[in-house]
Subunit: 276 residues, 2 copies
């Protein structure tokens, strides 16, 4: 693993690291914030999954997450959103490929060689982070923004024993019923696959529920509301009696000025949930 | 004036605006944050001047200034660092031209047509902001980072009646004795000019002093320490008995992870100073 950069921030260290990913068959970059402290015991850790077009860098520099994480003593991982490189397929025009991994393991060519973001996040980077940094593998939460909110919800709803707390900002909540999802699932899984059902937060919540409280924030002026389908997710929360909070934030939109406004609430949610 | 974008942030509004600059002879873009509130009286306002290579956007998205500004009820202006456009001269290789306005009015060709950043900040944008937004022209502070710290200090030391509070992050503090300054001053003013002395914070402090307290933060691991020359400025502070605080922050470097760590201290400094 290569250290790309280390910057002191709120008394802790914001690092950027590069490593070779076996599952994605390319080099991958991620950010990791470690809070200040004597590391007498490993830190609880929050995974922040980013949205379409983002790299590891967007949330790391714009979300303003480090201040509260430093105060509470939490680590944060900022993974990239897809495999990268000149040999990795791409289709910018259709929100497919680089920057659009959708947190799934693709089965269809040309994507199936590199696009294994589910396995990368849930297993490979998980092991890399746990084995190299002072973070507590029994105290992990996951959040994300937009496509990353979709990733956070689907990973937590599938692996609640790993991701013991979950939240999301403006998540793609019902991708089997949205242009942000159907198109990507068709490309990555083919048109006759059952796999999309395993990567739809609304369907997963209906089937599995989640043992903890789910926190979701969404701006009432989100310009992508029709693509996110929060209504479907909220209906299932209500119908199944799922514990949690869905905040519609008046006047906020889809961007990072919205995320940074409520990031502290989310970090506190994870910190509280992981202490239980 | 054209509204480029408006985003709700911490209950206030982060706007980006474009207007034609008469002094710079090009369109200029700036950010302005307005805190929440009923605007019964105009808000105190802080100017944040950015560093080499930056636009209006860097501090606006990375400094994390909006939270504290919203809490205290302060507006913040994020100007660009130079004129821009295909007809505006540039010399990236030498840190001259676009992104490197140095907050001076150039007298030498080819720069003297557009590069009037002193007049732009101190007069033209000043009037634009005061006349279009609910900000109090009698309650203005100024801060900045690196080249912007130089701009903030030199503007405040020259016009203390306008800029009633001042601070800086990692400022270029003695540019007549540094490669970051001598080269630009030679290009913008010519080699036999007395103008550089009017744009050197250390010389201005020695000559004028400042009626308020000056706050400066600098990282002990700043990779550009030799170019910033903080030692010269601190010497004059000590020799002249200038009120203020110079914090050397152990282990921090020159970047925005440093700025965001201490931005709240600076905003509080300005808020307190402007209440006096």
């Amino acid at each position: 693993m290569e250290v790309v950069s280390l910057n002191k921030c709120f008394g802790g260290t914001q690092g950027v690291y590069k490593h070779h990913s076996t599952v994605c068959q390319c080099d991958m970059t991620f950010g990791l914030f470690l809070p200040p402290g004597e590391k007498k015991k490993p830190f609880p850790v929050l995974w922040f999954l980013s949205g379409l077009t983002c790299t590891h860098e967007n949330a790391m520099t714009k979300a303003g997450a480090q201040q509260k994480a430093a105060e509470l003593g939490m680590a944060i991982v900022f993974p990239d959103t897809s495999p990268r490189g000149k040999d990795v397929p791409d289709d910018d025009d259709n929100y497919l490929g680089q920057g659009a991994g959708f947190y799934v393991d693709a089965t269809q060519k040309p994507w199936n060689k590199n696009f294994k973001m589910w396995s990368y996040i849930a297993h490979e980077l998980q092991e890399e982070v746990i084995s190299n940094f002072p973070v507590d593998q029994n105290s992990q939460g996951i959040t994300g923004h937009s496509m990353g909110g979709h990733g956070a919800l689907t990973l937590a709803l599938t692996m609640p024993e790993t991701y013991r707390s979950v939240s999301a900002f403006s998540p793609i909540a019902n991708p089997t019923n949205s242009d942000w999802g159907q198109k990507q699932f068709a490309a990555y899984f083919g048109t006759n696959s059952k796999l999309p059902e395993q990567h739809d937060a609304t369907l997963l919540l209906d089937r599995n529920g989640y043992p903890g409280e789910i926190l979701i924030d969404l701006g009432s002026d989100d310009q992508f509301m029709d693509l996110l389908r929060p209504d479907a997710f909220v209906s299932v929360m209500e119908n199944t009696g799922q514990k949690g909070t869905f905040n519609m934030r008046e006047g906020y939109d889809h961007g990072y000025f919205f995320v940074t406004t409520f990031i502290n609430d989310h970090i506190e949610h994870h910190f509280r949930s992981l202490q239980k």
